[in-house]
Subunit: 274 residues, 2 copies
Amino acid sequence: MAERTVFFVSDRTGVTAETLGHSLLTQFDGITFVPITVPFVDSVEKAVQVARRIDWEAERTGCRPIVFTSFVHNANRAPLLRSRGLVLDYFAEFLAPLEEELGVQSSHTLGRTHGMSDASSYNSRIDATHFAMDSDDGHGIIHYDEADLILTGVSRSGKTPTCLYLALQYGVFAANYPLTENDMESGRLPKPLLEHRPKLYGLTISVDRLIQIRRERRPDGSYSSSRQVRFELRSAERMFRQHGISYIDTTHRSIEEISSTILSETGVKRRASP
Amino acid sequence: MAERTVFFVSDRTGVTAETLGHSLLTQFDGITFVPITVPFVDSVEKAVQVARRIDWEAERTGCRPIVFTSFVHNANRAPLLRSRGLVLDYFAEFLAPLEEELGVQSSHTLGRTHGMSDASSYNSRIDATHFAMDSDDGHGIIHYDEADLILTGVSRSGKTPTCLYLALQYGVFAANYPLTENDMESGRLPKPLLEHRPKLYGLTISVDRLIQIRRERRPDGSYSSSRQVRFELRSAERMFRQHGISYIDTTHRSIEEISSTILSETGVKRRASP
């Protein structure tokens, strides 16, 4: 398969350049992209070094490297534009129309994105992450008043990664509560959840996928048996329907897709931006 | 302060549009941006509805809304282009030069980014997240062989959120081990860390910031006292230097900045892309 070297270069973390670059590259089949991230290129000297590295790669591979950049300072980007790479810079592309529309100049300030410039937004993310940790897996029930959301479902349906993603990305306070065998047998909503009914959101997953996930964790015993998994999922879904709890099937959905769907359906407000 | 409504619209999660938009908007001071994210706009009908909503906003506020989009299918974007918003589309701008450079057409396939199309990359992120949870705060020492990184430092120096971010974003297996009072007094590297010396990376933080963070958590007692915090941080930093452990001051750095720095300095490979 054809290979192509891809650089993500930024005067800050490079996270924006990586995110945007990957979303484009995934649209191209049949090419293996070899990624190189170079963050904190915050001087012309460093940029000249990166440009040299890009030229070496062009020489070595015989192919023009793709270079995704997100430079706030044009001076630091300039040496890359003289390199042999194809430089795609979304700042350069989009700042001008925005400046025109908004009628103000952009501030060209470093560290605004993925930095700590908005302290309250940043602190929300950290606080929400600690909240998710402390109220994982049915812990921290006494803090449910502070929760924006409480995810519930059977073990390994995707609750923990979703809560952590919602916290780290959006500063949303999400707790998670696993449904146990007792709950399934009684068919009753567990007591700690009853009084927080409006905050509940259910996760479910296909029988086959859950068996596979649980087997990787504990190959033997009823935990990953087809019968047990089938029983748990059927009971959980019945419980969701009975109590009018919205729920989502996570089988073919990524954490990003699950999180976007939940926020969009519940209207829970983001306290921070990614 | 002036207000401006901003739409993030996508036929998938909207994460790319949000990332792009926020990183640009943070460059504009003096304007309050009111964000509205509309994910999963995967039909022309839905796009027409969003276009109508954009026009309503333009009417209501008397200002042209800014619209960040990341549509894979041009047909779904078309109705927005006829709206009264300023539409900035990342895909439309950059796919063409990439197609030309790579000599292939893009596949215009949905759900490639922030979806599950690359199963092994996606599973790495989920596995790494469970690894971070299971080896948080000194737990799961027996799994250190599987760790890519072990972060160490005093309580509340930023270890847990950094490990979780590295896992969710990059699929990096990061454990964290807190330094205890005993470790500080002996000055010796804790036994579980000794044999994993090459995987260690230290976090430190300023005295004032740590006092502030700990006071929010436990206002009274020695945990947040100036004397205790000063002693812990001095001992930890001395230990890092003595054992040649690289470390970073997290005081003025975001999780993204801390993570980028650690990956860039250690050369630990990303197992997944954001």
